[in-house]
């Protein structure tokens, strides 16, 4: 009989699969079953209705905007936190996790208070002719807030572990700062950035609590997909809710699959390079 190197592998594997099945797969299966009780044409009619499509558009575009913003700002934040020492650094570092710990409804309420026309930011922006609260821009800002930690927290450890010798070597070979960043640091960061980006995007797709306060919730213009699911449930229309939910689920799944694949490629590239 072939023996495993790790003792008790079979038992731990069994426990792992059981828990993944119970906690992750079972609820998703229940959702799929609910959605599957619709015929294909009914399913299609629900998920492709103009109102659903409008909600996907708002959600995906806002999530894209938020993710790009977080990618730039999150990278900068991680960079500053790992490369510089300044008073209050630990505090800033701890604050990054706040959006994780905070109930998202709290975020929604405070962001709305800030950005509404009589809020601190909102009143200033109103003079410039920019309205944030109750527009797609507001949705984007709520998404930015709730998904920021994903990018910072995935990039930070990689930056911390980066061997200074690599940069010194590049410097001694005459590389400019920009070249070093582009050719040495960025390739090493890419897998972490990809992972953070995809998590941030997926979180933005599903965000509900923070957004419904700051979005105007106007059908066809500022109604996010998660709210549409909620609305279908309010109508006792479980199947339609499940059908629309399945679209979000599939999108998130495809997103994660693509980034995993890209990550694998990026890793191969770094190992070879």
């Amino acid at each position: 009989m072939k023996r495993n190197v790790l003792p008790g592998l079979r038992l731990s594997l069994g426990v792992t699969l059981f828990y993944v099945g119970l906690i992750v797969l079972l609820p998703l299966a229940a959702l799929a079953v609910k959605a599957a009780s619709l015929g294909p044409s009914e399913y299609w009619a629900i998920v492709s209705s103009p109102r659903s499509v409008a909600s996907y558009k708002v959600t995906v575009l806002a999530a894209l905007g938020a993710t790009i913003f977080n990618l730039l700002f999150g990278l900068a934040l991680a960079w500053v936190l790992t490369r510089y020492r300044f008073p209050g650094r630990r505090l800033v570092d701890a604050m990054v996790d706040l959006p994780f710990a905070l109930p998202t409804a709290v975020a929604g309420i405070s962001l709305t208070a800030l950005f509404s026309a009589n809020g601190w930011f909102g009143s200033v922006l109103a003079h410039l002719g920019i309205t944030v609260a109750y527009t797609p821009l507001g949705i984007m800002i709520a998404m930015c807030f709730t998904s920021l930690p994903f990018i910072v927290r995935t990039v930070q450890p990689v930056l911390e572990d980066l061997d200074p010798a690599l940069e010194e070597a590049a410097q001694s070979l005459g590389g400019s700062d920009w070249t070093i960043f582009r050719k040495v640091i960025l390739p090493l960061l890419t897998p972490a950035l990809l992972a953070g980006t995809s998590l941030s995007f997926a979180r933005s797709l599903g965000e509900f609590g923070a957004i419904i306060f700051i979005a105007g919730n106007q059908p066809m213009s500022t109604e996010i997909t998660a709210l549409l699911i909620f609305i279908r449930l309010e109508e006792y229309d479980y199947q339609a809710a499940a059908a629309i939910a399945s679209v979000l689920l599939i999108t998130a799944f495809v997103m994660l699959a693509i980034t995993n694949w890209m990550q694998a490629r990026a890793l191969r590239y770094t190992v070879k390079g």
């Binding site: 609260a133 306060f213 106007q218 066809m220 709210l227 006792y236």
Partner: protein, 328 residues
Amino acid sequence: MNRFLILGTALAALITGPAFAQEPNKLLNASYDIARELFAAENEAFIKVHPGVTIDQSHAGTSKQARAIVEGLEADVVTFNQVTDIDFLVKQGFVSKDWQKDFPNSASPFYSFPSFLVRAGNPKNIKDWNDLVRDDVKVVFPNPKTSGNARYTYLAATAYAREAFGGDEEKVEAFVKKIFDNVPVFDTGGRAATTTFVERQIGDVLITFEAETRGIAKQYGADKVESVIPSVSLLAEFPVAVVDKVAKKHGTETLAKTYLDFLYSEEGQRVAAQFGHRVHDEKVKAEFSKEFPEIRLVKVDDVFGGWDKVQKEHFASGAALDKLYGSR
């Protein structure tokens, strides 16, 4: 989050189920969102008369509450703001079919109607429903898809328009659509809409139950807001029922009935009136007559042919209400 809550409640019910069965002096009242304070007061009054009894409260949107009960929330009684949500429980076998005959006034101990709240001094001079279609008026009410409160608003506006246009459906539709186009934000619940109107200073008029407008006016003061009662509105009933299936399991059938009967008693009616609801008890009515000006109320049954029809023609997916949004 909601899923967790339901799952959690279901689990808790599963574990404590047998314990409940031996405690026939404990009730869970599942009610709608903005009735929190009302029922806190009602329960206190009830316990004074029936010492040793515990009444637990659970509040959320009524449709959500109905769904939670079907999914395992063990509520002995429901006090909702929409007949359709109790009808849903009837269909699922939780409430007896003729529940509306179990208590007086179609099982609705008190009532209210969609009414207006405007800024102090009424700067836009908003008096009635036809002012809501003006280009310079912004209207705030929650999303009728997620709020029973706003469904009444939608129906009341439609009822007004039907009278005004003598049944010209095209004009009625255009009228209601114009009101919806004047709404800058659709909050998901009545209280959120109140915040939008009062705290964020958005809109010129808030439409919500009279009971709520009176509460807001009291809380924020006459220098901020004042309530305006339109010429006509729609009777909003607040139906109550014993959840037979759960009450039978808990052995609380008698207590549940006593509790709901209490809402019709003089004391129960007085509490409801204090919280801005209109009541049926003649004595209490006389006491509060100054606070509740006369208004002509029309009924869903008379204007729309009953809740079943309303549900099908207006609120179902793809029905009249969806068309209003879809065209914008």
